[in-house]
Each structure stands twice: as C-alpha cells, then as structure tokens.
C-alpha cells in the first residue's frame, strides 16, 4: 500500500534518474547476472558482458518502463498491458527473477544515491518495484 507521499517520492526519484537510465539499468542487470547466474539463461541471444551495447540498451529499456509506470502508479495495469503480454506469452521469465532484479535495482540505487537513499525512500521503492513485478506477472496464469 503506497501513501500519496511515497508515490511522489518514487516519481521524483525516477524522473531524476531518467537521464542516466542506461547506466542504472545496465548496472542493475550486471549485479543480477553476477549474483544470480541462472538469470543469464534468459539472455543467451544477447551479449551481456559489462559495457556491451546490448546490456546498456536493455538496461535503459527496463528503467524507462519503470520510470514510466512511476508517473501514475494507480494506472500500472494499463501502462504495463503490452509488457504483461510480452512477459507472459513470449519471455516467460520465472517470476523469482523479478525479485532478484528488484533487489539488485535497490542496491544500484543505494550505490548511486548514497545518503539520499534513506530507509523511507528504500521502503517506498521496494513497495513500488514489488507492485510493478506483480502487475507484470498478472497474465502468467
């Protein structure tokens, strides 16, 4: 359950990070691939080595989607409609990976935002990313 203040905080943070979406996204993915090697199995068709073009563009795509959703969290199911279909019927990613990615995204945010990634911001962000993952996997079954 996200409060109005939390929604504001989340939307502010993602707006600030949109210009560095590539960096943030690539780093989060890299952290996930390092800590959860099983997650790499979904990317066998791409070059996901550090600083590869694929890694950066894919990271950017993910962060921009998360940032877009943050603009109006109450509309997540509508905003994510097409991505829901993609993930359910084409990508078919085991949903535990969303948790691993969320954790690595939080670590990335902490490393970038340092003191500004306060416990309150962390709590709000964790809630948002959980909600995002839940909506994304709604069509899985």
């Amino acid at each position: 359950m996200l409060s109005a203040r939390e929604k504001e905080l989340i939307s502010e943070i993602w707006e600030r990070l949109t210009p560095v979406a590539e960096d943030i996204g690539a780093e989060a993915l890299l952290r996930m691939f390092a800590t959860q090697p099983g997650s790499k199995t979904y990317f066998s068709h791409l070059d996901i080595s550090p600083s590869s073009a694929h890694l950066r563009s894919h990271g950017q795509k993910i962060v921009l989607a998360i940032a877009e959703g943050a603009k109006d969290i109450s509309q997540l199911a509508i905003t994510l409609g097409p991505l829901q279909t993609l993930h359910a019927y084409q990508l078919r990613i085991d949903p535990t990976n969303f948790k691993f990615f969320s954790h690595c995204m939080l670590v990335t945010l902490a490393a970038h935002m340092r003191k500004d990634f306060t416990p309150v911001a962390h709590a709000a962000m964790d809630k948002y990313l959980s909600a995002f993952a839940a909506v994304l996997s709604e069509k899985f079954r």
Partner: protein
C-alpha cells in the same frame, strides 16, 4: 564446509575493517524496521517505533544494531566453520527469541544496501557477490538449529 578464496577473504575483511560499527549497525537495523515493519514484532520493549522518524531516533534500536553487527565478527574470525560458530545463537533465536529465520535474510539485505550506500561505486557487482555469499552463509548458519 564453505570454501573461500583468498580474494573473497580479502574483500570481506576489508569491508569490515573499514566499518564504523556504531554507525552501520544502527543504520542497518533501522532500515530493516522501516522497510519491513513486521520485523518490529520482536522489539515491543524498545519504546516508540510508530513512525520512521521515531525509529531513526530510538536509542535502543541503535544499541541493538551495533550489537547485531558485532555478532558478524564471529563469522569473520571463524570463516572455516561458520556453521558451528553460530550453533548457540541459532538455538537462542529459535527457542528463546522465536524469530522467523526469514528475518535474518531481510536484515542481511538491509545490511547489503547500507554498505552499498556507504561505499557507492566501489561496491561493485563483484564485491556484492562476495558480500552476499558471506551473509548467505551466516544466515544459513543462524537457521540451522530450527527444528
């Protein structure tokens, strides 16, 4: 027995030798209580935990955070047998404190994020792998005596 490379031992020992326990311990525990409010169930005698602001100011939380972080020293000093090192603490948390062992994982995640915020970009993916391996072994050892 968990195997540690020289590199892993070096990285872990470096992180801890650069830590201010009185700063990081409280930060990690406060973060856990704020981000995962249900963990507050074990701290009803600690006074006001009703808001994030209250948690951040609470002296008992701070003191306990320092204590818990020092608890990791035991693992540092006994890397070759972390499981045996935590037998007593595991029994304590299971039979006396009745703490759901999943809470150890939550606190470990909060500690990781606290360290990431402290180290910034020097908390690389490679460092994260090593640090998480260490915490994972500790968390597993703490859960071993739950029957």
């Amino acid at each position: 027995m968990v195997k540690w490379t020289d590199e892993e031992r070096k990285v872990i020992s470096s992180i801890f030798s650069n830590l201010d326990y009185d700063d990081i311990g409280p930060k990690a525990l406060r973060r856990c209580l704020v981000v995962y409010p249900w963990t507050q169930r074990h701290f009803s005698s600690f006074g006001d935990l009703t808001t994030a602001a209250a948690i951040m100011k609470n002296e008992k939380v701070a003191a306990h955070g320092t204590k818990v972080l020092h608890g990791l020293d035991r693992a540092l000093k006994n890397m070759n047998n972390i499981k045996a090192t935590y037998t007593e603490l595991s029994i304590l948390h299971s039979e006396k404190l009745h703490v759901d062992p999943d809470n150890f994982r939550l606190l470990a995640d909060c500690l990781t994020i606290t360290i990431a915020a402290k180290m910034g970009e020097s908390f690389t993916a490679a460092t994260q792998v090593i640090f998480q391996k260490f915490l994972c072994v500790v968390v597993s050892a703490l859960g071993k005596q739950y029957h």
